[in-house]
Symmetry: C2
Subunit: 307 residues, 2 copies
Amino acid sequence: MGAEVLIVARESDRWVDAVAGLAREHFQVTVASPEASVDTSQVRILIGAPPDLRSRLAHCPKLAWIQSTWAGIDALREHMSPSLTITPLKGVFGASMSEFVLGWLLALERNIIVRAHQKHWLPEVEGNVVGKRLGIMGAGDIGSEVAHRARAFGLEVTGLNSSGEDQPGFTRCYATDARDEFACGLDYLVSILPATQATDGIVNDNLLARLAPGAIFMNVGRGNAVVEADLAAALQRGALRYAVLDVFEEEPLADDHPLWHTPGVFITSHTAAPTPDTAIPAVFARNLKQFLAGAPLKGAVDPRRGY
Amino acid sequence: MGAEVLIVARESDRWVDAVAGLAREHFQVTVASPEASVDTSQVRILIGAPPDLRSRLAHCPKLAWIQSTWAGIDALREHMSPSLTITPLKGVFGASMSEFVLGWLLALERNIIVRAHQKHWLPEVEGNVVGKRLGIMGAGDIGSEVAHRARAFGLEVTGLNSSGEDQPGFTRCYATDARDEFACGLDYLVSILPATQATDGIVNDNLLARLAPGAIFMNVGRGNAVVEADLAAALQRGALRYAVLDVFEEEPLADDHPLWHTPGVFITSHTAAPTPDTAIPAVFARNLKQFLAGAPLKGAVDPRRGY
């Protein structure tokens, strides 16, 4: 009999044994590399990184549930349907994302990147983040965790999400339609937005022009949100001081991409919030219990919203 | 008649006009540069930076109160007496100090200093601060503010102070005598200690040897706390990963000082927590009201403790 559960993973993935053990208590399980050929005619549950799963979906007629090992499931966007449950990895990225966002904001405002290489005394007073205004696009679970840390530093934090519904940690949340108002006068703009049609190119010249002069922009969501030409222009005319970019339309970002050499741009390698080793088994165990009970899975993607 | 209030300041000090205005409502006021010759025979109140005031004290027979414009009053240590009230600038440094301490910790753990100069994709997972253990030497007002922000990032924070008295934000505080136990297994050690005889050389080989392997040390208090040779040795043998030093026995740190070129050492220029422009008038106004009423001044130095 073919596998009922297919785990697609690389040899270096440390979560595989724990997840396979959990699944074997109830199902026939196969673990395969992304490139391996596998009979998927009986597969009900797929587990792995969305880009590694996409090509297999057409060959899984019995598929009921995909457990993504990533937060972002945009690679599966075209395959969403009411009969397929997709659970992104949730509730495990907030701590790391917060460290990245606050770490870079503080490093830039407190001049840490320059100071780290200085070899003589220079008692110039540095900038501060206290009292500044931070806007977070994508005010959900992760955004709330970032907002919570930012407020501890005396930042005023507002959020943007599709409904404008208030979220913990935010002074106020705005709906996507009110994003001009949301962006007005922000000292720092951070995107944690998922990749959906509604977020394509949302960070454009119109939005960037509304920020406070010398603002800092950070993208730790998905690359689709940013119109790169508009971003480069805002940096060039000094409207933006810095942009910290962790995500891109195409990853890895090519060595000859002009962003590597755009003044004011800092590039990281989709490293803002990696998956902790223990997170995938913990989330899978919780979801599996619900799945076996025929109950709804917490945090499953809503096909209408796309996230 | 000679001045009753002497303000010692530099032309660039932006707080002078506001403080002089407050004092003139009640007293004859003179504003002088640190180098100027002034008749101080009638001076009851001195306002300025401790090193600029020290040489004048012998010529102020009527002196009753010194308002320091710095948090550290170690330059006045030899002049403390029960008949002289000395008020350090308090309650205004916590925000900036917290930004500096967390900013550097995050920059080092998240590899921001290296990433800032990288020109190709490198998806290596970085370190985290969440779950690490931070020890703060000098668990008082400023320490509490640092502890509060650090806890928001999931750090466990313990403190050290002379009495071992618990302070807000700390899981536990240790008395100075129990500093070996306090230091045991700390991932990060931060000194915010004032310069007193009790803190001279307290960060020595014995203390550093108790930290977790690869710990980070930060000095944002006063330079007297650190035995520099012991610190350099701990870095050299890899017991310490990094040291971030903002304060030194002699400031400015000379251009030919070996610390500038000690691997793992980052040097800033006593810039961790500069005085905000608005803070000095606000603190002086509050203290002046008490002084005029003959009431005790909040936060005045205890001559027995030396801070």
